[in-house]
Amino acid sequence: MIRVGVFVCWCGSNIGGIVDVPRVAKEAARFPYVAHSMDYKYTCSEPGQKMIIEAIKKYKLNRVVIASCSPRLHEPTFRKTIARAGLNPYLLEMVNIREQCSWVHAKEPDQATAKAIDLVRMAVAKAIHLKPLYEGSIPVTKKALVIGGGIAGIQAALDIADAGYRVILVEREPTIGGKMVMLDKTFPTLDCSACISTPKMVAVAQHPNIELLTYAEVTGVTGFIGNFSVTVRQKARYVDHSKCTGCGTCWGKCPQKVPSEFDLNMGTRKAIYIPFPQAVPNKPCIDAASCRRITEQKCGVCAKVCPVGAINYEDRDKILQLEVGAIVIATGYDLFDWTTAYGEYGYGKFPDVITGLQFERMVNASGPTGGKIVRPSDGKEPKNVVFIKCVGSRDEAKGKAYCSRVCCLYTAKHAHQVLEKIPGSQAFVFYMDVRAPGKAYEEFYQRTVDEGARYIRGRVSKICRQGDKLLVKGADTLLGTQVEIEADLVVLATAMIPSRNSRQLAQVVGFSTDKDGFFQEAHPKLRPVEAGTAGIFLAGSCQGPKDIPDTVAQGGAAAVKVCALFAKQEIATDPMIAEVNEALCTGCLNCREVCPYKAIKRKTIPDKARGQAAERTVARVNSSLCQGCGCCASSCRSGAINLNGFTDEQIMSAVKASLQHQRLLTNRQ
């Protein structure tokens, strides 16, 4: 005998202030199979839960309907509650009368109450057909993959490794360190970026639990939480690192100079190179496109001078296959290419208009100018330096709508560095707003202002060449005047955008990106380091622009999530997933096409056709991959797929309950 209990929640005044909650409970008591119905102020509270448990026992309830907030918020809470009363946790049906009723119908309370009653009527009709469901379990491979070796990936890898789990760190560049190691000093403390990041890089290289794969890219990911299978392409280095001692003779003698990516093309490197002296690993690779031995069969100097015979021109890319239980994505950011969008700043044709990151390399003691701030055009020291903020950020017409969060502070730092390093210099900062909401950030900005940086609130409309200088024209919107500044150097604070190829990576790994291409977290507030796909975690600016403290914090948070997963021997799987009725399945595999999680596979089963043994194709759902979205069920032409917890029978009962009641009302009129 089915006995349904209905509990209608006030949610304080959230629901109770609009919907007539006692009336909903009273009406619900008259629905078929309802053995008990009541209302309560805060059903989710401890006394509220106790009340449910007592009611289940007292009235011998075996289905529970709770009309309250969104199931996203409290479904797990109430499942545990009814389990405590001895019921299968999946014999619960939640009705959202807050987000989907009281909040949206705040101005029509009578209709809101009528709608709430209807919603409860449907839920009761559905609840009658609920079946107990049981969680399965899958084993966990206790090894993590971290993609990206910037500070976010480094932090995540170190934290997971320190907890005692194995980590594979994959980095596509020849060294780890990412963008942070390119910076000079870090705001607001002005401590040296390299001094605080290179020790972490070394720690990664030396950690017994970390396997480092640099100059490698993830090309494929299959599997599911706890059981991922990852394909990595190790790019050919042409240097055998097991023999190489990193002595440096090869790159000392290599005759081929090319622009250095690490110095953002402001300096040069050799064709065989380490990106910078503190690179990890501190052993070189050959850039095949620039090497004359590889492209033209000439030269070969490095092989001749190498004392240990580590050079191998015949090296080829290798494909590696890795098995991991969790993946942390920390692919970082790139800078918005302003040269294609900002014609008013010269489309990149003025050498003395540079980006903030180029300024970082220039002001860095190990950078191309040895830390001297100079004009790229003639190497002279600039006197007037103009900084332009929000180039590509907060500019929907040309760039991105969002704020890149770090530019206000690093521009304040740059202005400070100009004033500090160049006697008699002037720093002008064009800004829209100064956003400094971090610990000691506002103070840092004020300090730069006090040092004499001239902050001008307005946009720059044009940069023109004027002799060997640049004429910067803009508006001072506070004074309401136009301003023109003769500048020696212009530094643009360009927007942070997702790292190049990050969209492809999202496709390969199988999770989603937001409108700007940043990786989408599972919940913007409560699950900020989890991707929508179970077992995949996000860290750092691949998820959205952020500064170093936030990036490091997220790296650590992602590591904790991985460790929490690895602490279990087995993980439970959600039973609310799709199930194929093989007797009905025609094997069209339409479901496979629409499945966003690649959870459906072809399966061949024996079949007796006209008395003869034969085989036929049916669809099979991988219960670990299925996320219970229901796409397959709704696309199935033969009705062979059902989503547990949302079966056709359950949904049709709910719909019928609503329609029959509507007809009743119409007939009465």
Binding site: G343, E344, R465
Partner: protein, 285 residues
């Protein structure tokens, strides 16, 4: 190729050279221009700055006339082009406005016309077709191409990139001229403020002339009657007020294409400029 041609008021008065050279060059290049019968003034800045409806209505009436001709429309004057193109866009995108305007003009326009600048019409011929007609490449002419504001703004009707347009640069290179890269291609000359605030126009125009001279050119090329008017006629006054000594001929791009394709200076009205053009024309071998 056949277009309904909107000459506009300037082309009948201060910018006669533009009209004459446009007609001559188009004839030479095989572009047939047919005058719009009974066309009326586009209203220019005074029109649309007085009333939005007036601005759109004046152009919509002309577009309705073009629609009756069954042709697409071109204008040589940059301001006329901008007014026609903007009105066309608004009439096509805003049904309510379209209804209202059609009621005002009593000459319904249904949005069946494309509006192109004469620059686009000529450029669409393609470099091969133009090169084939070049008899006298414009050697020794070093020019600053000046686009002004109207052809490249706003975005919806821009003929080319508003910060570094290339369309006329490419045409001038096709006919053998040397084009410099300079920063003032689309800086405003002050336009119609010449009437109410001449001092502003003199200041802005002076900057453009100075930049052109600093870029080492021997002439300026334009495609806008008002730009031409400010740059050419006001040079003398600018010299007087700012103590400069400019003597920089300002050509319409059509005049230079005409010269290169073998038309005589007289056929292109090159003798009606304020700044003498003869010295520079002599440079062409």
């Amino acid at each position: 190729m056949k277009y309904a041609y909107f000459p506009g008021c300037c082309d009948h008065t201060s910018a006669k050279e533009y009209d004459i050279s446009t007609r001559a060059v188009c004839k030479n290049l095989g572009i047939e221009l047919i005058d719009i019968p009974d066309w009326s003034c586009c209203g220019s800045t005074p029109g649309h700055s007085t009333s939005h409806l007036l601005g759109v209505a004046l152009s919509a009436r002309n577009l309705a006339l073009v629609e009756e001709m069954g042709l697409d429309c071109t204008a040589s004057c940059a301001a006329c082009y901008q007014r026609l193109a903007l009105a066309n866009m608004e009439m096509k995108n805003d049904m309510k406005l379209c209804e209202k305007i059609n009621c005002i003009t009593g000459k319904p326009y249904h949005g069946g016309v494309k509006v192109k600048s004469i620059v686009e019409v000529v450029a669409e011929l393609g470099p091969e077709q133009i090169t084939a007609r070049v008899l006298k490449p414009l050697e020794n002419l070093k020019m600053a191409v000046y686009y002004g504001c109207l052809m490249v703004r706003p975005k919806e009707i821009q003929v080319d990139d508003p910060e570094n347009p290339q369309i006329i640069d490419k045409l001038m290179r096709t006919v053998g001229g040397e084009v410099v890269d300079w920063s003032y291609k689309t800086e405003c000359c002050g336009g119609g403020l010449a009437i109410s605030n001449e001092d502003i126009v003199l200041r802005l125009t002076n900057k453009i002339l100075k930049e052109a001279v600093d870029a080492g050119v021997n002439c300026i090329v334009t495609a806008c009657p008002l730009c031409h008017f400010n740059l050419d006629m006001r040079q003398k006054k600018i010299n007087k007020i700012f103590g400069t000594n400019y003597h920089l001929p300002v050509f319409y791009f059509t005049q230079l294409i005409g010269l290169a394709t073998g038309l005589k200076p007289g056929e292109l009205s090159l003798e009606t400029h304020f700044v003498d053009t003869r010295e520079v024309i002599k440079l062409i071998a």
